[in-house]
């Protein structure tokens, strides 16, 4: 007997299906089905996964199930050919686009209006016999000779009567009946999960879900024997007949490129070549080196062979647009760092400086697309996106989806709720779980925490949660992956609404696109690019020679010296605590060192224990022992594989992997944490290495390093792009600190540090920072020359953007209406600008009116007392109010409080300085005094807690950063200490630490012993400490 299942839902019918598409396909193969149609509800999101699984083993039919808004029957549409597939996608798009995210609305008239001339339709009528009969007639008109009645048996109550009626209907309408299974799960074992998702979907508990649950587990992939027993042979035969009519495969989908990028007289290859040639002449100053020339030819040939010209042209076009708008951008990814991309201006990384593996992204045999991400200034990425929409139209450009799946937390929460556990209790248990050590441990803890004293439920709960993890929940928009097509995109894949107004996403994610070989362009946002551009603009004011990234001096030793000191706050990628600590040890002295620095301070290399060997070799404590043929692969990293590319290369050179095999290894590595399927490569790798004369020991070591890489490996190609920006930002910080910090402050929020911390760092670098002043400030922070001579070093004048509560129109009104000589008094300010009281009070509290209205209390009181401006009377003619009330001036503590509340920072003295002055911090060292202490001494320090981190790489350690009036103090709290003094660690805002001084090179840590909460001292200053960051 043969059977094709034509009605099957996966978990992409969110909270309906209880199995992954892959599981369904596997089960169908095991049961010997001839074909399987994946017919998720108004969606094709799961078909690519199913397709990947089914390849060569099972015929996969693409279809979709629908419930109409204005008709009671259930409809399943199948796509027998490419046209039908396009029609199906368009119908889904229509239904989805008019409904809010995650929903769809489909009407009868859509079926009539939309062209569904190629789709096959199966339906389950609903209602009384006459109604059913009418439904059938209606559908017959739409789907002539392409309509079947769904004959489905689940051994449910009343089924026999229904089937009798169905048979009568088939005779009446002269329609065939096809056997189907309304499959919701791949195995009957999924019934508990099926019940659970049903309860979650209905927002009820499993205990009161009642008839919303199915009465049995029959909606699974059933055995042929059983189907044979349940269905008449002719119904079963009909399923095969339908499957045979379906010839469409997702393989047929070919990406068709937008044609408009190639001007007349050119075709894509010649146009690309012309652009590359032009760029090469520009980049290499008309002297293209032979090696570069060869590489260009090699890359162009590869692109030609795989017909990727349009892809490069598309990105080139977007980048060219950004450039024309003065939007900084920088490409990333292995393809991005090719010579061609350098010539096309997609990247600034000179490929002659970095050895990058071009094969990685263009896999000759597997037809997978290259990978280029382009970062744009974060404040202006939207302009680029709008350009894409303008250029290609909304019908041809859409964002890829990100499939949001259940993770441990959400699964525990939803499953717990559905099982009727107490909500507060669930949260309590969730909060007690340490997530760092992976999901399994979390579940173990749940078991111990005893969410329920019902042993049955307890046992099910763990299994249910484990199964639910990874189930898709909804589609969200990918951060920036655009799909651009030649024809309407909704004939390629359905488009639906995203949560963000006016945004649409396609129903596939980037893995799906990759599987089908469809191209996407990643348009990403990067704050540092904004900061760099703003800095460059500021420098223009006094040094016009530095306008672009190309104007920045290469390999500046002084810049590297600064980094070697760990002086990198604000510098891209190397400003985190861990990076700052590593800088003095790695001592970068050239661009490539930065590439390594960025990649090595990551969980992967740290866990794979690659840092220490590298440091030992770099410090010449140990001699690298690299075989000759590995020299080109590992030589530049002293024999330690640090980058993903190196692992791939290693597999090729040392174990004889082909480029494609190596690429599979890369994918497996990326997915290793999830699936753990690295094992198959182990033998191949070790055997390959043994065959090439490596020792077993070395081969094992390499394999373990690959494993250690896990999912964390960082590609050299990304690191190279980031290192460039790191260097640029370090250069700017060193040579133009005022402009650099001003640019950073004007790009907030971004980076690791708050404005307060940035300003302190700026002042430490000798930059003068001036307060907000209604007569001197602008919306943005600006540069100013206190001694009025542009030769002198600039100072930063804080801008209105720092003043909390001051509206943007408010600050614009000040700039627009400010007299050349400035405002005389608060009255004039109020009348000339028309500012409302909220804006005025914000200015007063920020002390921005001190020049014209006295101290902030008085300014506030006075300003509120002014009458509303009467436009007809000139302000000068109005009389002063008679009562003059003098309010007391704020003391220093109150001033500090006001500064922090109104701006989040203070240019005045640090609270710690005040406390010290009051004698409240006896025997406590400042950050500065710490520098002179010796290694191993017991010291006492105190400061505002500005950072509390538990990095994933360091097990159980908490890094605390304290800030006092002289700088930052780094505290390391070991797990035991943290455990014992939890309260002080978690709740202190002002913390005193006594501990042991630890010094390595210039890096100082305090290993915490006793922690004391001193928060009450700040409160004593009348400073609510929450305002400190």
């Amino acid at each position: 007997m043969d059977y094709a299942e034509l009605h099957c839902l996966s978990n992409f019918s969110f909270l309906r299906g209880a199995s992954h598409p892959e599981e369904l396909v596997k089960a169908a193969i095991e049961q010997g089905y001839r074909a399987l149609a994946l017919t998720d509800e108004c969606s094709v999101s799961g078909v690519v996964r199913a397709h990947r699984e089914a390849k060569g083993q099972l015929q996969l039919i693409v279809g979709s199930e629908f419930c109409l808004e204005d008709a009671p029957f259930l409809l399943v549409l199948l796509a027998p050919d490419r046209q039908a597939y396009g029609q199906l996608c368009r119908l889904i798009t229509i239904a989805r686009r008019r409904a809010p995210k995650g929903k769809y609305h489909l009407y009868l008239e859509d079926l009539q209006a939309a062209s569904l001339t190629h789709c096959l339709a199966l339906f389950r009528p609903q209602g009384a016999f006459e109604a059913k009969s009418q439904q059938g007639e209606l559908l017959q008109a739409i789907f002539p000779q392409r309509l079947w009645l769904l004959g489905e048996r689940f051994l449910e109550n009343g089924e026999e009567t229904e089937l009798e009626a169905l048979k009568a209907l088939a005779i009446r309408l002269d329609l065939p009946i096809v056997a189907a299974g309304d499959v919701h799960m791949h195995s009957s074992n999924r019934q508990p999960l099926q019940d659970l998702v049903t309860a979650i979907r209905h927002g009820c508990t499993i205990h009161n879900a009642g008839y919303r649950l199915f009465s049995n587990a029959e909606r699974h992939i059933r055995s042929l024997t059983k189907l044979e027993r349940l269905y008449p042979p002719e119904w079963l035969a009909e399923s095969i007949a339908i499957a045979q009519r379906c010839r469409f495969s997702l393989e047929e989908l070919r990406y068709e490129y937008p044609a408009e990028l190639v001007p007349n007289g050119h075709d894509a290859p010649t146009y690309l070549r012309a652009l590359v040639e032009k760029g090469a002449q520009h980049r290499f100053h008309n002297k293209v080196p032979d090696r570069v020339r060869q590489q260009i030819e090699h890359e162009l040939a590869l692109i030609r062979e795989l017909q990727y010209e349009h892809y490069f042209l598309t990105i080139q076009d977007i980048v060219a647009y950004a450039r024309s708008q003065d939007i900084l951008c920088q490409g990333r990814g292995s393809a991005a760092n090719s010579v061609i991309c350098y010539c096309l201006g997609i990247t600034e990384v000179n490929p002659t400086k970095v050895d990058l593996l071009f094969e990685r992204f263009i896999s000759r045999n597997r037809g997978e697309p290259p990978d280029i991400d382009v970062d744009f200034e974060h404040e202006r990425r939207e302009e680029v996106i709008q350009y894409i929409y303008r250029k290609y139209g909304r019908s041809r450009a859409a964002l890829a989806a990100t499939i949001i799946s259940y993770r441990a937390r959400s699964a525990i929460r939803d499953a717990g709720k559905a099982l009727g556990f107490d909500l507060a209790h669930i949260e309590q248990v969730l909060s007690g779980i340490s997530w760092r050590d992976g999901t399994r441990v979390g579940l173990e803890q749940i078991r111990e925490a005893g969410l329920t004293d019902n042993p049955q439920l307890g046992r099910y709960f763990i299994t249910l949660v484990e199964t639910l993890i990874g189930f898709p929940r909804h589609l969200s928009q990918h951060v920036g992956g655009f799909v651009i097509s030649a024809g309407p995109i909704d004939e390629l894949v359905p488009v639906e609404n995203a949560a963000m107004q006016g945004r649409t996403v396609i129903q596939w994610d980037k893995d799906d696109l990759e599987t089908l070989g469809l191209l996407k362009v990643d348009i990403l946002a990067l704050g540092m690019l904004t900061a760099i551009r703003k800095t460059l603009h500021l420098i223009q004011q006094y040094q016009p020679g530095i306008a672009t990234l190309q104007d920045i001096g290469e390999e500046d030793r002084a810049v590297y010296k600064m980094l070697q000191r760990g002086d990198s706050i604000g510098v891209f990628q190397v400003e985190s605590r861990a990076q700052i600590n590593m800088l003095p040890r790695l001592k970068p002295e050239k661009y490539y060192d930065l590439v390594i620095q960025i990649a090595i301070v990551r969980p992967g290399p740290i866990q794979g224990d690659m840092v220490h060997p590298y440091l030992r070799r770099r410090d010449k404590i140990e001699q690298p022992d690299i075989r000759k043929e590995l020299e080109p692969v590992l030589g530049r990293t002293l024999g330690v594989p640090i980058f993903q590319e190196q692992v791939i290369r290693l597999a090729m050179v040392a174990a004889g992997f082909s480029a494609d095999e190596a690429d599979m290894l890369r994918r497996a590595m990326a997915a290793w944490k999830r699936q753990g399927d690295l094992e198959p490569f182990r033998f191949k790798l070790i055997d390959g290495m043994l065959a090439r004369g490596y020792t077993q020991e070395y081969a094992e070591q390499i394999y373990n390093q690959i494993r250690g890489f896990g999912g964390y490996g960082f590609p050299e190609s990304h690191s190279a792009s980031f290192a460039l920006l790191a260097y640029v930002s370090a250069w700017l910080k060193y040579h133009h600190p005022a402009a650099f910090f001003c640019g950073l402050l004007n790009s907030q929020p971004m980076g690791f540090y708050s404005p307060s911390q940035l300003i302190q760092d700026a002042r430490r670098h000798g930059v003068e920072v001036l307060p907000v002043d209604v007569n001197l400030s602008f919306r943005e922070h600006s540069l100013t020359w206190p001694d009025k001579s542009p030769e002198g070093s600039p100072a930063i004048r804080l801008g209105f953007r720092l003043v909390k509560g001051l509206s943007i129109p408010g600050s614009q009104a000040i700039e627009a209406n400010r007299p050349a000589e400035g405002f005389k008094d608060s009255r004039q300010l109020k009348y000339l600008t028309g500012l409302n009281n909220t804006d005025l009070e914000a200015l007063a509290s920020a002390n921005a009116l001190s020049a014209i209205a006295g101290h902030r209390y008085q300014a506030r009181w006075d300003i509120l007392g002014h009458d509303k401006p009467a436009p007809l009377l000139p302000p000068e003619t109005r009389t002063q109010p008679a009562v003059g009330i003098q309010l007391p001036e704020p003391n220093e503590g109150e001033t500090l409080l006001e500064d922090y509340t109104s701006m989040g920072l203070s240019l005045g003295r640090h609270p710690l300085a005040l406390l010290r002055e009051r004698g409240l911090l006896r025997r406590i060292l400042t950050a500065e005094e710490l520098q002179t202490q010796e290694h191993g001494h017991v010291v006492q320090v105190a400061g505002l807690v500005t950072g509390r981190q538990r990095p994933g790489s360091a097990s159980g350690v908490t890094f605390v950063t304290l800030e006092d009036e002289t700088g930052n103090i780094n505290v390391v709290v070991w797990a035991v200490t943290a455990q014992q003094q939890r309260k002080a660690l978690l709740t202190s805002r002002l913390l005193q630490v006594s501990g042991i001084m630890e010094r390595r090179d210039t890096v100082i840590h305090i290993i915490a012993g006793r922690l004391t909460n001193l928060t009450h001292l700040i409160e004593g200053l009348t400073i609510p400490s929450r305002d400190f960051r």
């Binding site: 109550n157 009343g158 089924e159 499993i206 439920l457």
Partner: protein, 467 residues
């Protein structure tokens, strides 16, 4: 006029603690994601404090009990406490969510002055295990602010004013926006604001502020609506730890009965019927109606009665909440005879009939069949005391036999005809009573139509009759 304000700083927390002899850490949580709103002393000692995420709170105090912040409960508790004050002052005003205002100038002499009255009140609340901050003042607002800020009690008006003037402006009920503005003009104390010309304040901050200050200082009248006690008495206790023996229930119950006795004494009433509900986990409730032949009004009698009735009862599940309700009042008469039986019931005829049947045949022998939407035949019906409504139209219920057999009988004869089936019923994994059966309808040789099933492990059983 003299006003007394009683502020209950931790009404709900005290309520939860009351049922327990030992202090336990409790916190009220609210919001999404939930955060701590209030924590009792025990919890605070372990570092729990308001605004903490429950993540932090739970890691600080592993045994912390989290209770949702419940405004309805808060209101109930407040009016319950108002009942208790009825004894001391005739004019009581509820100041939700956590205060009571008493006009005491008229009753001061009765109690021998402010301090004795204060002591009596303090004692009453202490006995009931409620924290209460009490203060007197010349205006309602003055009393309120002094109480809420936990100032020392004073019966000297000038001391009262001095203390009041020295309170921070945040201590007032003025909106945060206003107090924030005031303190950010350097005006941090109530006295500073009182000293400023009212018209200047009104101009800057609106007349609401000046009006408030006037009411505070007594320059403007501040009438207070009087509260009157409710007609029926209903109190409950939420247990943080589930109680699973009858004797364990008696301790917290005693507190409720004491409250009842106080209530009856204050209103000069008695009763002959108590409704005692023990609520179990998962929403089920055991209800007791405790009756006496005679009217009663003291704790001992009530406790005795409850003990008698509860002693024979085996709890079906641990108790999470105890509720005591009385809605039947008798005038308190020392010589009252048996009032039971002769009093005509106000209930409907049906209730009267039910009462009669229940009285003689026993409550548990009269059941109402309820249909439950559950696929498992055994779970699809319930014999309850009250009807349960499920919004299912008739056609949504499955086809089932009218007679259902409590215990399936083995099918001993070969049926004559098989009329329909199989219908497969499988599920119910969540409560350990999962089934997997195939049901058939068959006509037996006797002509009866049976609902029979078979299980995977074999065996045929009759589970019902299509009568």
């Amino acid at each position: 006029m003299l006003w007394l304000y009683i502020h209950f700083p931790s009404l709900q927390l005290d309520h939860y603690q009351r049922a327990h002899t030992h202090p336990i850490p409790v916190a009220l949580v609210d919001g999404q994601p939930p955060r701590v709103r209030e924590a009792n002393q025990e919890a605070r000692q372990q570092g729990v404090s308001p605004e903490q995420s429950i993540h932090t709170a739970a890691s600080l105090a592993p045994t912390l009990q989290l209770c949702p912040d419940d405004t309805a409960l808060q209101e109930k508790l407040l009016s319950r406490l108002a009942q208790r004050c009825y004894h001391y002052a005739a004019h009581i005003t509820l100041c939700p969510p956590d205060g009571l205002l008493l006009e005491v100038s008229t009753v001061l002499r009765l109690h021998g002055g402010l301090r004795p009255l204060y002591r009596q009140l303090a004692e009453t609340f202490q006995k009931q295990a409620y924290q209460a901050w009490i203060a007197g003042g010349a205006t309602p607002l003055a009393a309120r602010l002094l109480a809420r800020n936990h100032t020392a009690l004073s019966d000297d008006p000038s001391t009262q004013w001095a203390t009041l003037r020295n309170l921070p402006i945040q201590a007032t009920d003025l909106p945060v926006g206003i107090t924030d503005r005031l303190s950010r003009m350097g005006l941090r104390k109530i006295g500073q604001v009182m000293d400023l010309p009212p018209q200047e304040i009104a101009k800057r901050l609106g007349t609401d502020v000046t009006s408030y200050i006037h009411r505070l200082s007594g320059r403007q009248p501040d009438p207070q609506p009087a509260w009157s006690p409710p007609k029926h008495f209903e109190v409950h206790l939420d247990l943080l730890r589930e109680l699973d023996t009858v004797t364990a229930i008696l301790f917290p119950l005693q507190r409720l009965l004491q409250e009842l006795a106080d209530f009856l004494r204050q209103h000069q009433l008695a009763t002959d019927t108590l409704h005692l509900n023990l609520e179990h986990r998962y929403d089920s409730t055991t209800r007791f109606q405790i009756r006496t032949g005679k009217q009663a009004h003291n704790t001992e009698t009530f406790l005795q009665l409850c003990r008698l009735q509860l002693e024979h009862h085996i709890l079906q599940a641990p108790v999470v909440r105890i509720q005591l309700r009385v809605d039947r009042w008798l005038a308190r008469q020392p010589d009252a005879t048996d009032l039971f039986g002769s009093t005509a019931s106000q209930d409907s005829l049906q209730q009267a009939l039910l009462d009669r049947l229940q009285a003689r045949l026993g409550r548990k022998h009269i059941k109402r069949p309820n249909a439950v939407p559950d696929h498992r035949p055994e779970k699809a019906w319930q014999a309850g005391e009250a009807p349960v409504k499920f919004p299912h139209p008739p056609s949504q219920w499955p086809q089932r036999p009218l007679w259902f057999l409590d215990r399936p009988q083995p099918l001993l004869e070969a049926p004559q005809d098989w009329l329909s089936g199989p219908e497969r019923l499988g599920g119910g994994w969540w409560d350990g009573q999962n089934i997997l059966r195939d049901y058939y309808v068959a006509r037996l040789t006797t002509g009866r139509i049976a609902w029979v099933f078979r299980q995977p492990q074999g065996g045929w059983f009759i589970h019902g009759w299509f009568a």
